[in-house]
Subunit: 336 residues, 2 copies
């Protein structure tokens, strides 16, 4: 059988088992020009929560009654396409399920995994690492000596953002929600300073202390009061790289925007959104750079693997209460 | 006597006669390297209201007890500087007063007024025109065929923004608060479409009707609900040129930010603040371009001249209730 998850209704707040429903169906059969992928791992990312809502977004939302989307990696077990043979490794935007039946053109074949774990292609060498790479370099445009402040710094995106910032010569300050995460950022990721936002007291003051010359680049993963605190600490000509607002994704009502947004004018600063799909043509460049830096030991990362598709919804909650340590993936099956 | 205005206290809401107080003092005497300027005209701009508040801003606020600032133009009547002779035309950031005594280096001498009215150098060839020029071209970066939406479109800045947009090949849509202003934008300024925001009904819908392919560039003069309505109509890779928030300057409490700011991410859009002082080195370029376009009849403008320094505070209120038609200046004295 093909176990899978359906978006039964649009969640209010954190999605529960009546919103995201675990079901079974027969294993699909590949139609013309289709492949069936036996999923081995899937990526859980905060953005998926956004796709469950019908707020206007960069993509149309997951339809009610449809399968919940995720990037997965697996092996082709049926193929009606010349581009895929049985056993090929295929990556794509699929769903929370055992078997994904998709048009071959929607799947990306990984010819050479360089001997790396497949999970890397869902994380540091996949959508999250590429988000860090293009967002920081293209939108943030770091210059040596600048101060880069990263929210969600211990997450899959934030930790790589900070390390690329170090490679580019920035002073890097990270915000995270536990002392253990902060220690990891300092000891292993080479951050210059950290702020535990749960224990630091007034965040605006804490940022001022750690970024005394102001924030030249702010990596925005969280939104809410954090953004307001950062806005009061911008340097002249600051750039805010708007990657996500994890603090708001489970809001039941749309909350007001940042009350300190005037600081964009006061500091001749820029806030800019971006979506990784704009950079598809440049993915090879990003993967090559990230792979090289990993090989040189300049980028470290952590993966948090949860076993079993049946545990996916609980695992998804970890992203919002901070229980995951590193890139969160679900192991759906053993690679045989 | 030197009539002048003091900021007696920080206003709550629209400044009244107990906030901005009309006084007299002896005419000042020029000290070493100083000049005394007999002011002929002064410029009234919404930004002055921001300088009266102690919110963190691009400049320190006007000190309580100090004179209220404005850009003025006048003739030198005393000079202790080799750079100025009696009778020279001098422009500068001075104050609401008859006579300004300033260091010569803070004044700009206008050697050649090209036979134009002096008021032009406070408006279309001065701070407001230069704001339009550098903000649109440097921050907005218009391309032919794009849709440019301008708020405060009948104002001194907005009307020139729209006309430069037309010169650059944009489709230009203006928002203004009266039918008369809208008619002027269509008939004289060459705008392609207009929205009377007071009578259009739902503004988000009205913008969608006038900008069916989305807003590529939004000139932000007003803030508040207008910004939220525009955010829901952004085109991909839109740019919001953040020039001011006139709707908020008299707020007694800080209001929440735009609730639709997520659209910056959804549309890979950018919101960027700027301040004209960053472009001082390029003013000659801007003045030359604006002067040429005026000569070619491609830029028209209106001036609203209020007579008498004693009427300055009432005139200032016109900016916030929309009673002025065009660039607002106060005539302080006749040029003899």
């Amino acid at each position: 059988m093909n176990r899978h998850y359906i978006l039964a209704r649009r969640p209010l707040g954190l999605p529960g088992t009546h919103d995201v429903v675990f079901r079974e169906e027969p294993v699909p059969e590949a139609g013309p020009q289709q492949v069936v992928i036996r999923n081995l791992y899937m990526s859980l990312d905060p953005a998926i929560r956004g796709w469950m809502s019908d707020e206007p977004n960069y993509i149309e939302p997951i339809p009610v009654g449809g399968k919940v989307w995720a990037t997965t990696i697996g092996r082709v077990v049926q193929s009606n396409s010349e581009d895929f043979a049985i056993g090929d490794i295929a990556l794509g935007m699929n769903a929370w399920e055992d078997y994904s039946c998709v048009p071959a053109e929607q799947a990306t074949k990984l010819d050479d995994t360089m001997g790396l774990p497949l999970t890397h292609f869902l994380g540091v060498l996949g959508p999250t690492g590429l988000t860090s790479y293009f967002g920081l370099l293209d939108v943030g445009r770091p210059r040596a000596g600048e101060t880069l402040l990263v929210s969600g710094a211990a997450g899959a995106v934030g930790s790589v953002v900070g390390q690329i910032g170090k490679i580019k010569g920035c002073r890097v300050v990270g915000m995270a929600g536990s002392d253990e995460k902060c220690r990891w950022l300092l000891a292993d990721c080479g951050f210059d300073a950290v702020i535990n936002y749960r224990t630091c007291g007034d965040l605006e003051t804490a940022i001022r202390e750690q970024c005394p010359t102001g924030v030249d680049i702010y990596w925005e993963n969280v939104g809410g009061e954090t953004l307001d605190a950062v806005l009061m600490n911008l340097a002249e000509h600051a750039r805010i790289v708007f990657c996500g607002w994890i603090s708001t994704y489970n809001d039941e009502q749309k909350r007001p925007g940042p009350k300190n947004l005037w600081q964009l004018l006061a500091r001749s600063a820029r806030m800019e959104g971006f979506v990784i799909k704009s950079y598809v043509d440049r993915f090879p460049e990003g993967i090559a750079a990230l792979g090289q830096w990993m090989g040189e030991g300049k980028i470290v990362h952590r993966e948090h693997v949860v076993d079993g598709l049946e545990n996916a919804l609980d695992a998804f909650h970890m992203l919002f209460d901070g229980r995951n340590d590193g890139k969160l993936v679900v192991r759906i099956a053993e690679d045989e």
